[in-house]
Subunit: 536 residues, 2 copies
């Protein structure tokens, strides 16, 4: 041995140890579904997590065993994250919005041993119990099975004294399991490791991502069951921030909480901001302390970014997925930010931003993945990613999810700009191939919803004997609005190339959606499988 | 295998790969000793580092071999950091301010094979060459041995094409070697690993430390030969910042560079700020773009922090040492920062701040290290530290530098406050033990230099048969100033306890200093080894 630095394994329990020791009194506030509010702090969360680790061991949970949660955002859910990994277990956060057959599949596939759930999901749990064959114990976070007052979870961990140590293990042990909702086939499990989680958590602190320090007060709207809640419960402990959780996502509740608790940071999908704006416009409410908003999950419209930026809020428009832990890119300031006009800044923020250190991106030809495309701001191709918190192999999969050089194909279609900015244009499965060229279904849809009579629009490719595929646009009109196919085409022609214009516009009453609220192109294509184009 | 995230070793060459790819055009500016300025960028630094790796291999450098630099801050020095580690070598940054016997010792102890040096240090190199027995090659960064124009370094790497890969290795391989100047005995080498360096680099990005993103323009005044330049060359690449280097530390040059290059961040020791303030006061110069100043190396006086804070600059008053890579604590904002008065904020900034995630601190009793002291803001004890970028064993040492639980004794004496804030009070070797109680030499000195007639002061303990030790104060008067011992004692009595007052005040023409500019208490104690107290 020549000399050395200290041995220090990247185990996520170190995060809660740090938060409890260095920011032990920093509050964790919960606004529960019933309107009540409770407060704990990092020291309290750690103590409860230690008790929970003891309680899990008594239930027979051994290192590597999966423990599931079916819950909204609250302090007990946070305790369970650290309690499960602290006992050496693997935390499986189940998305309650999944369909029953998906819920059945993932709990059985994960071989979950214990399920912790919110009282609000009790009907779902009762319905699924007969189908879940591995779950041995059900524990309610905010209710008791007999309906008496109190929390079964608190009662359960309350029997322990917390006088224990975290279960030790290797830094490449699994820590957490999240399933993708999956547009085709069964959901697939992404198994995060202690090491990947830790590198992701520390990376998240930087100004270009979550911008966290001791002054941060974060209200994460992104659910704890969605893509590891973007890693916030881990990064938040590393910085010892104050968390404000709401078990309901009502805009009035969120606005009130943000102002009362002096929330500085929020993170959520665009639809949350839409509802928040509506509430603000209706009531005159303002957000007085917010300074950093992370928006991800799907693309944020320009007016949303503009409104937040004009309110002095730093917007980090982000891209990531369950398979990427999920930090992929964030729309952080470019080096020449202050030299740009507001409109130029908005143009940049509308795209998906750039990678932090650790993540690599490339695009490859949609027809021939061996051809790597240039970062020229023009070439559109299949987006691939690699890095220390990117998936290598799905849970229980027989084969790697990556190629020989560890590139993971995201299923997204995008353009890389010379400065590394990612501009997502479509999903690989949804992009429409016409005459050897590609048409972005998303760009057609975005252009269509700009028409005042259009409530929702979806573009899909229909078989064409000459062109391979041609786009049609499926439109839901706004209540009471009238518009003709030609009027919509004329509107589209203002912003897309002529050969992109759909061969037909079909009006429907509703467009199908998947479990996460996104349009289900697969169901739509099934619906239009017998559709014939007029000239075909 | 249940499932997995990607394999991704923590090798520091990933930093330069990222910077070159994602911020390749971001400038690296150098103001050279001769007044000329050059510009390169991250892509250029990487290309040159690849060429240098090829050139080093041709010189026979193999993985683990040590390559030394004796240089100020400039882009070629930065290239050499990545070039050496890229060839699998260990970068040894030599402090040119060391004494000859120390310079002789460390180069031979490190078994340096190659030395890269600035022309300004050519006389030193010529003087030392006969004593350096392992160095086979000398290469000048900014001159040629025959005195002809140009750079020997550029000529040397210019013979290569850069068409190579970084030498692979394990993440726990050594990457860098820094020697402590050492107040007693020979200097000791701290061997940083790729892994420790990477965790340190990513940690440094967060707002509470270097607060770096793509908009950052950093002028690091801290030399690249001092404590790994606080890790800035590594963190800066992770964020792809613009660097502005100056090979001279003249205040006029630094002020001019900061304004012309729109510097947002700086990092340096307090004396640099003193000189900068003097220059600003003399010329009316202002710092127009600076927003974040990291101050470390020694304690910053209150008026310095006050002046920077009043100018709207966020000050991170930091503590660390070569053995801690060096991030230990930074004086970041507390969670309740905005509720504090300016004076309260200043009180906090005057202390050494709090740990980031990764670092743990504790204080133990000076007499009995098995007694861990409470974090009560009162108990003063020996400061111990541990974490992933903290030393375990000195280079070539026979024994660990830490105890069984990996605690490293820093040699500092400090107080830990309930919120984790570190307040340094002395060095273990300098604290004065009187009647079983401890007197801080640093506090006595700080009180003394508050007297208008005192230029410099040092307190040391002198043997006393009854009290074990009693303090005396050694004072250098300001030119032309007159003051009596009693006047100084009366001044001290305003801020320290009566029993702390020195038994004697001795006036001298000069106080001895060590290689890093700090007072050498060891030499002072030698000087006063025969001193007898009047009542002893």
């Amino acid at each position: 041995m020549l000399g050395a630095m200290q041995d220090w394994d990247l185990r996520v329990t170190r995060l809660i140890d740090h938060a409890a020791k260095e920011q032990g009194g920093r509050e964790i506030v919960t606004r529960w579904a019933d309107g009540s509010e409770t407060r704990t702090n990092w020291a309290g969360v750690r103590q409860d997590a230690l008790k929970m680790a003891q309680a899990l061991r008594k239930l027979g949970i051994k290192p590597g065993d999966r423990v599931a949660t079916l819950a909204m955002n609250h302090a007990r859910h946070l305790v369970s994250w650290y309690g499960v990994v602290g006992a050496g277990g693997v935390l499986h956060t189940v998305n309650p919005r999944l369909f029953d057959d998906q819920l059945e599949y993932i709990a059985n596939h994960a071989e979950d041993q214990v399920l912790l759930y919110d009282a609000a999901f009790a009907p779902l749990v009762e319905r699924m119990k007969p189908k879940w064959i591995t779950i041995r114990h059900y524990i309610c976070f905010d209710g008791k099975p007999d309906g008496s007052p109190g929390s079964e979870f608190e009662h359960w961990i309350g029997a322990e004294d917390g006088d224990t140590d975290w279960t030790p293990g290797d830094e490449r042990d699994p820590a957490m399991l999240c399933y993708t909702s999956g547009t085709t086939g069964n959901p697939k499990g992404v198994l995060y490791e202690h090491r990947s989680t830790m590198l992701h958590a520390i990376t998240g602190l930087q100004p270009a991502i979550f911008d966290m320090d001791a002054t941060t007060v974060m209200l994460p709207v992104v659910p704890m069951f969605h893509a590891a809640s973007w890693g916030l419960p881990w990064s938040g402990a590393a910085a010892g921030i104050k968390f404000v959780f709401s078990a309901v996502n009502d805009a009035a509740v969120l606005c009130d909480l943000m102002n009362r608790e002096k929330v500085t940071h929020s993170a959520g999908v665009p639809t949350v901001w839409l509802a928040t704006f509506q509430h603000m416009d209706a009531t005159g409410a303002t957000l007085n302390t917010l300074r950093h908003a992370i928006i991800g999950g799907s693309a944020a419209p320009r007016f949303m970014l503009e409104r937040l930026m004009k309110a002095g809020i730093n917007v980090a428009h982000a891209w990531g997925m369950t398979e990427t832990s999920p930090i992929g890119t964030t729309g952080a300031k470019t080096f020449d930010w202050d030299d740009k006009t507001f409109e130029e800044q908005l143009d940049i923020k509308q795209m998906q931003g750039r990678v932090p250190f650790g993540v690599e991106l490339r695009t490859v030809d949609l027809d021939d993945p061996s051809v790597v495309l240039p970062r020229d701001g023009k070439a559109s191709g299949a987006l691939q990613v690699r890095g220390p918190w990117i998936i290598k192999r799905y849970f229980k999969a027989e084969a790697e999810a990556v190629d020989a050089e560890q590139w993971f194909d995201t299923g997204d279609v995008g353009i890389l700009h010379p400065d590394g900015t990612l501009q997502l244009t479509d999903r690989t499965k949804d992009v429409i191939k016409s005459g050897g060229e590609w048409i972005s279904s998303v760009e057609l849809e975005n252009a269509a919803i700009g028409h005042p009579a259009v409530a929702e629009a979806a573009a899909i490719g229909i078989y064409h004997p000459k062109w391979d595929e041609r786009p049609i646009l499926v439109v839901v009109k706004k209540p009471g609005a009238e518009v003709s196919p030609d009027e919509i085409k004329a509107h589209l022609a203002k912003s897309v190339a002529k050969w992109w214009l759909p061969d037909a516009v079909e009006f429907v009453d509703a467009i199908p959606h998947g479990a996460t609220g996104k349009i289900s192109k697969k169901d739509l294509r099934d619906q239009f499988s017998d559709y014939k184009l007029v000239d075909a």
